[in-house]
């Protein structure tokens, strides 16, 4: 479904992503793990068109999307739930959700999806008229996820969805990503918490300093002695 072939991304003078190749098949749950600064977020940003790809190609459902503008990427069916939530803090919850459906023009469909999103996230319904900036971190993450889903994506990318959240919300967010995949949406998730990531996903890639150094099924990765030592605490 999504295929990255040897892509390189520069961040100023440094190489953030160095010839990364990876693949996500339809219906899969794939994670990118690795420590801070390994190039995981930059990879997602390159797919979204937020960072220019210096070399290599990205294809989605067979179509080339390398260096496509972000507004076209979402029309292709790829949604991005960015690191740090990035909700529109001065817009209220409803407006944030409407912005999620910005690329769509089927008003009735948008209204239905908004309603079902509020059914799924009762906390958001309670705060529907509040500016998103007044929500708690966990609620903002729920909103960011709901916003990403409002575009009806076929592939959704989550960037560190658990970062900075209270433990009960972390659990909830991970359950949610699993539910989304169960609902038929393909998931590509960046996660520093390798333990949780490998519990959830089908396959995973380990990035170090911009390179893919290891890949495999979740089980293979969990059983790998290097990963156990460096990322799973022995």
């Amino acid at each position: 479904m999504l295929k990255l072939d040897d892509i390189t991304v520069h961040y100023g003078a440094t190489v953030a992503v160095d010839k990364v190749s990876l693949e996500v098949n339809e219906g899969e749950f794939v994670t990118l793990i690795g420590s801070n600064g390994a190039g995981k977020s930059s990879t997602l940003r390159a797919i979204s068109g937020l960072e220019p790809v210096v070399s290599g190609t990205i294809t989605f459902e067979g179509k080339p999307i390398t260096n496509t503008r972000p507004q076209s990427i979402i029309e292709h069916g790829i949604a991005h739930c960015p690191e740090g939530r990035r909700v529109f803090s001065q817009l209220n919850v409803r407006e944030n959700l409407e912005m999620g459906a910005y690329c769509r023009s089927d008003h009735a469909g948008i209204r239905d999806d908004l309603e079902s999103m509020l059914g799924r996230f009762p906390r958001l319904r309670e705060r529907i008229e509040q500016p998103a900036g007044t929500l708690s971190g966990g609620e903002q993450q729920m909103l960011a996820i709901a916003r990403a889903l409002m575009s009806r994506p076929r592939l959704v990318m989550f960037d560190e969805p658990s970062l900075g959240l209270a433990p009960n919300f972390v659990e909830q967010v991970f359950e949610l990503t699993a539910e989304i995949r169960a609902g038929g949406t393909t998931v590509l998730m960046v996660e520093q918490n390798a333990y949780a990531a490998l519990e959830l996903c089908d396959r995973s890639y380990l990035l170090e300093t911009g390179r893919v150094v290891l890949q495999g099924t979740a089980r293979e990765m969990r059983d790998n002695p290097d990963i156990r030592k460096a990322y799973l605490g022995g």
Partner: protein, 290 residues
């Protein structure tokens, strides 16, 4: 009492046009963060469009108003597209220099094209004032008030209720987040600058028959627009509207009861006090940061 009401009416008329100027600038300066020194020049541009069309080409005044708004939109969009797009507001010094350049070029172009002599734009309304309960109401000024209020409401609806307004607010809050939900951010920038400029231009055209048209009329307009935006709180649309009325009423009553000579000084003195006592602006909403 009659005097008081008369000043109140005059201040309100002036306030409506200040509000238009202020809202235009709060979009560009408050929301887009472009320190737009040329805002007053767009106002002068609108006044000269009215002069050229009405006084020179004998065109209908109302048609000229619409054209001034349209040309202001185009000119503003062109400034953003040609001059600001490349630096994308990353370097505030660069942006300020560009806008000062635009101001100087526009002001001198006006001087070159029309000369330094003040121009008069004839009003399509009767000259005699209507007298209601001892208060003199000039039909031209009443029209200015009515048109300004309609524009204020229309503009408020666009920003607060329309899809375009939503995309604008989203873009200037978090550009990357707006991109990933599919907003064409470049187009939003151009449109926002164009809309703000259009408001300045139509304000100039509206006021052209009330005051005279001169190449330097933009200077004071720019200064006042900045004062209004600061008074209302940066980027606050409602605040800019209220700030416009507030500044006009302060000026009007200050001139009436303190000193006519210090009319503008009184307004700016109040701005100074506001900046010291309430730097977030009089009407700024509470906001949680982070």
């Amino acid at each position: 009492m009659d005097q008081f009401l008369q000043h109140l009416v005059n201040g309100t008329v002036l306030g409506a046009t200040y509000a238009l100027l202020g809202i235009g600038l709060t979009l560009i300066f408050g929301i887009m963060k472009v320190v737009n020194f040329a805002h007053g020049e767009l106002y002068a541009f609108g006044a000269y469009v009215a002069y050229a069309l009405v006084s020179l080409l004998q065109m209908d005044y109302f048609v000229a108003l619409v054209l001034a708004a349209g040309l202001g939109l185009l000119l503003g969009a062109a400034i953003e597209f040609l001059l600001l797009r490349r630096c994308r507001l990353e370097n505030i010094d660069e942006v300020m220099l560009i806008m000062i350049g635009v101001m100087i070029i526009m002001q001198n172009a006006e001087l070159l094209a029309w000369g330094g002599v003040a121009k008069v734009v004839p009003t399509p309304f009767p000259q005699e004032s209507i007298i209601v309960g001892g208060i003199y109401l000039s039909p031209t000024r009443l029209f200015v008030l009515g048109a300004a209020i309609v524009l204020l409401l229309a503009f408020y609806l666009v920003i607060e209720r329309s899809r375009l307004g939503l995309a604008m607010r989203a873009t200037f809050q978090d550009e990357d987040a707006a991109r990933i939900v599919g907003v064409n951010v470049s187009r939003i920038y151009t449109l926002t600058f164009g809309l703000g400029s259009s408001l300045a231009a139509i304000t100039g055209a509206l006021l052209a028959p009330v005051f005279v048209v001169t190449p330097t009329m933009g200077d004071l307009a720019s200064l006042k627009a900045f004062a209004i935006v600061i008074l209302g709180g940066l980027g606050n649309i409602r605040g800019a509207a209220l700030g416009g009325f507030a500044l006009a009423l302060i000026e009007e009553f200050g001139a009436a009861y303190i000193s006519t000579a210090y009319r503008d000084a009184i307004g700016f003195l109040v701005i100074l006090v506001v900046m010291i006592a309430r730097p977030q602006g009089l009407f700024a909403a509470k906001e949680r940061v982070g």
